[in-house]
């Protein structure tokens, strides 16, 4: 499997090797022509098969015949990319990823992972996937090393445990009981149990939920490292910064449906107005007069959250002077004013009218 980006990535037909985290040679599975699309590299003229790492069509899941958790998802995740499912809690992310992992049966829909189906190739797929579930509590009375050796023993060709300990910075904790680890260390161990089998695809369900910033960055590095060596990653998250920094492409999910899909940059570009001006006022009259803000030059939309306004604007330098003069007319005082680039959070808010995390 190759990701056709440029001539130099094509030349890596003899694939780069990463001693620890590598999956099989990336090109090896191109011999499986199932549902593959032929691509011609412009420079070399070599025909390559590009096959989705994960593909699903019309995925549906209804619990107990009542609750529609997933209502018709189409996804295509390319080899070598990091794909994110972004959405609030209860959006159907975990249901979706667990169906793709072969742990839940879908109510309807077709799924193909690495060109294989769960029905026919379960064992083969299990050997090629690394899975980290949301909140698994591993045995507390085993050491880190013992836990990894246990998981490694399930695979025909696992990575070496010492090497995995090294990559995930768990060497110092190798002989510590799992029960004594910190939250970040436990999450790294969970990722390690997924990586120890030498997977081609890594599934991570909310890998950094509840972690401190440093532990989150550590996990991000691990994910990037895996990806850099031809690994494909599918992760769910409700952190928009995580999705923005880590994912090549993502799908925003709400109420079991994809409401937007693309690269983070594309999604933000689709916003009407790439900048956000946020401000709050004190005193003055006519505070509720939102109409005034809408009429400011370049303003695309206005949100008022308890007196905390946020304007989506094309060009802040046109909007802000006008904003200031309106404030003056109202004899109000600005207590807060910032301007920033629009983020995925704004995309989500614009699409749903809600925030990703409403705690």
């Amino acid at each position: 499997m190759l990701r056709v980006r440029s001539a130099d990535s094509v030349s890596s037909g003899s694939p780069r090797v990463f001693v620890v985290l590598t999956g099989e040679p990336a090109a090896a599975s191109s011999s499986r022509p199932t549902d593959a699309t032929a691509h011609t590299s412009p420079q070399s003229g070599i025909i390559l098969f590009m096959e989705a790492a994960i593909r699903c069509r019309g995925l549906k899941k209804t619990y107990d015949g009542k609750v529609d958790a997933v209502r018709g998802l189409d996804l295509e995740i390319h080899p070598g990319e990091c794909f994110g499912l972004l959405g609030p809690n209860g959006a159907g992310k975990t249901t979706t990823i667990e169906i793709l992992e072969g742990l839940l049966a879908p109510t309807a829909g077709e799924i193909e992972v690495l060109g294989m189906t769960w029905h026919e190739h379960e064992r083969e797929l299990r050997e090629s996937l690394g899975i980290s579930l949301q909140e698994t509590r591993l045995s507390e009375k085993l050491t880190v090393r013992e836990t990894l050796e246990l998981f490694a023993s399930f695979y025909r060709n696992p990575s070496s445990v010492p090497a995995i300990l090294e990559v995930l910075s768990l060497v110092e904790k190798a002989d510590a009981m799992v029960g004594k680890l910190s939250g970040g260390q436990k999450q790294r161990l969970a990722a390690a149990t997924a990586l120890v089998g030498n997977p081609k695809i890594l599934f991570l369900d909310e890998p950094t939920t509840g972690l401190d910033p440093q532990s989150r960055r550590q996990l991000w590095d691990i994910i990037r490292q895996f990806q850099q060596h031809n690994g494909t990653v599918l992760l769910t998250t409700h952190y928009m910064d995580e999705a923005e920094r880590l994912c090549d492409r993502l799908a925003i999910i709400d109420h079991g449906e994809i409401i937007a899909e693309g690269t983070p940059a594309e999604l933000i570009a689709r916003l009407s107005g790439h900048h956000v001006v946020e401000f709050a006022l004190a005193g003055g009259d006519g505070e509720g007069a939102d109409g005034a803000w809408n009429r400011l030059p370049g303003v695309q939309s206005v949100r008022d959250e308890d007196g905390y306004f946020s304007l989506q604007v094309e060009e802040p330098h046109e909007t802000i002077p006008a904003l200031l003069s309106v404030v003056q007319q109202k004899r109000a005082r600005l207590v807060h004013l910032t301007t920033r680039q629009a983020s995925l959070e704004d995309v989500f808010v614009q699409l749903t009218g809600r925030h990703l995390r409403e705690d």
Binding site: E101, K141, L150, F151, S153, N157
Partner: protein, 357 residues
């Protein structure tokens, strides 16, 4: 750079081996498990063995209501052959009846000059015994002539004592307890922690997982049998009549069968609280009916077939027959069949209903 084609690192049984190893390590590192599986039954055997040890001779304690004729009764008792076995206190009527009710006295004797009056409780074996013992002593001392001459030898031999009855029962109960908790509780705990789901997300073979759990029971069974029997032999000089191999084989079948019942109990439950209740519900009737601490012959005849169909009854009976009477395995086939049936049926149903996530 070329990826070297790596040889297969792990063989067919590597997963099973590691699962079993991990299970045993987890057990050893859990002090509570060590206590409940090994310490508790030994303490129980020690306590009950001491409480019900064969005393040199049982002394019957009776009350004589203090009146003008009381001394006569005391003198008669002192002259009797059984005087060493009967202890009599002369007390006022209120104390006599009070202490009789509380169990200090097995019998109250009231002399009124013309004869004797006994107050005894037919529901209390020691009271019934005291009545006939005292009556016999007093009548004989008063000059009764027995037409038939009788004689007796005292015999308290290992093999017929309460501790001999108790140890195989405790062994059976312990195999049930550790099978039910060791499998049932452990599984639901893993399910609740999503560890089961995490395992099936890997290429782990589910059969290996169940095999490893079953094997861990067998290893523990060996230790349980060795500890309890060794304890009985060393501390209470118990005699083990049967072949050790037969005992181990029946122990293994018992351990695995109760493991399977534990598996069935745990097949659906999502919370350890709910499985704890279920396990106790399943074990409760067997604690009572299966003859762990006392013989189930005491229950009405009509429920005997049901009692004998319980797996713990079959296990206890088979263990007692082999350990105490040296019975052969073949003679215990029907009991073994009951165990296998329970275990096999539970296993099949458990596999059908088992929830991995």
């Amino acid at each position: 750079m070329i990826v070297p084609s790596r040889p297969t690192v792990n063989g067919r049984w590597s997963g099973y081996r590691h699962l079993l190893e991990a299970r045993m390590k987890e057990l050893w590192r859990e002090p509570e498990v060590i206590f409940w599986v090994f310490g508790f039954p030994l303490l129980l055997a020690l306590g009950l063995g001491i409480a019900f040890r064969n005393k040199p001779a049982d002394i019957t304690t009776v009350a004589i209501v203090g009146n003008a004729h009381a001394q006569q009764v005391v003198d008669l008792l002192k002259r009797s052959r059984q005087k060493s076995g009967i202890h009599a206190d002369v007390v006022d009527p209120a104390t006599a009846y009070d202490q009789f009710r509380l169990g200090t006295y097995a019998l109250v004797i009231t002399a009124d000059g013309t004869g004797l009056h006994y107050r005894y409780d037919p529901a209390r074996p020691e009271s019934v015994l005291a009545r006939s013992q005292v009556d016999d002593a007093l009548e004989a001392a008063s000059g009764r002539q027995d037409p038939l001459k009788t004689d007796a030898t005292q015999a308290s031999e290992p093999g017929a004592r309460y501790i001999d009855f108790l140890i195989p029962g405790l062994l059976g109960m312990n195999l049930m307890n550790s099978g039910m908790w060791g499998i049932g509780f452990a599984l639901v705990d893993m399910r609740q922690r999503k560890l089961l789901k995490r395992f099936v997300a890997s290429p782990m073979r589910r059969t290996d997982f169940l095999l490893a759990l079953g094997s861990s029971r067998l290893v523990l069974m060996l230790i349980e049998v060795a500890l309890l029997l060794g304890f009985g032999v060393l501390v209470f000089r118990m005699l083990v009549e049967g072949a050790l191999l037969s005992i181990l084989l029946v122990g293994a079948i018992g351990a695995v069968s109760f493991g399977a019942i534990g598996l069935l109990t745990a097949s659906r439950a999502r919370k350890i609280e709910s499985v704890s209740g279920l396990i106790n519900l399943v074990m409760m009737p067997m604690w009572i009916f299966s003859g762990v601490f006392f013989s189930y012959e005491r229950f009405p005849a009509i429920v005997q077939p049901a009692i004998k169909a319980l797996p713990l009854t079959a296990l206890n009976d088979a263990l007692r027959a082999i350990i105490l009477q040296g019975a052969s395995l073949v003679s215990q086939l029907s009991r073994i069949a009951i165990l296998v049936l329970w275990g096999g049926l539970s296993f099949v149903l458990a596999l059908k209903w088992f929830r991995w996530s």
